[in-house]
Symmetry: C2
Subunit: 78 residues, 2 copies
DNA sequence: CTATATTTGTGCGTATGTATG
DNA sequence: ACATACATACGCACAAATATA
């Protein structure tokens, strides 16, 4: 039932941990290119973090060029 | 007493209006280089917007290279 | 054309942590 | 020890864009 997944007491910000989590799964091929990620609200619940934290993680991933976000549609793996 | 300054009903996001406001004042020379801006909480009250909105405006300005933020000190005009 | 559902975007409030002076 | 200031994080609500029935 909802493992930790991320460590709130870590010096690494939660949003960064989350972004790294996605980045690692993309790098390993677990997330296929073109694949749509779950909605941000869903991810927040799934990860047990705040919506704002997911938004920051997505921004981080966009800035790294790992994903592309289309308003009203979703976020896709590049 | 506290004019609108920014228009919440505008299609332009508040944080962008705020960033543009600062950018314009910097470009006009009204804000001198090296000058420290008021604190984010103060700006939030002064502008009548939320703290997070100010934070977003500052982030916008940092990304544009117009200001530099030093944690524990303040935000300075470049 | 309208209505609805989904998803991202924006905004407010608050609390706590960290760094500097 | 204390004040100031930025950083991260939580919660909630509503608006805007997109797709579909």
């Amino acid at each position: 039932m909802a493992e930790p997944l991320f460590d709130p007491s870590s010096p690494v910000p939660l949003y960064k941990q989350a972004a790294d989590h996605v980045a690692a799964r993309a790098a390993s091929g677990e997330l296929a290119r073109g694949q749509r990620l779950p909605g941000e609200h869903d991810l927040a619940q799934e990860w047990g973090v705040a919506y704002l934290t997911v938004r920051r993680a997505m921004r981080e991933l966009r800035e790294r060029g790992l994903v592309t976000t289309v308003p009203g549609k979703g976020t896709y793996v590049n």
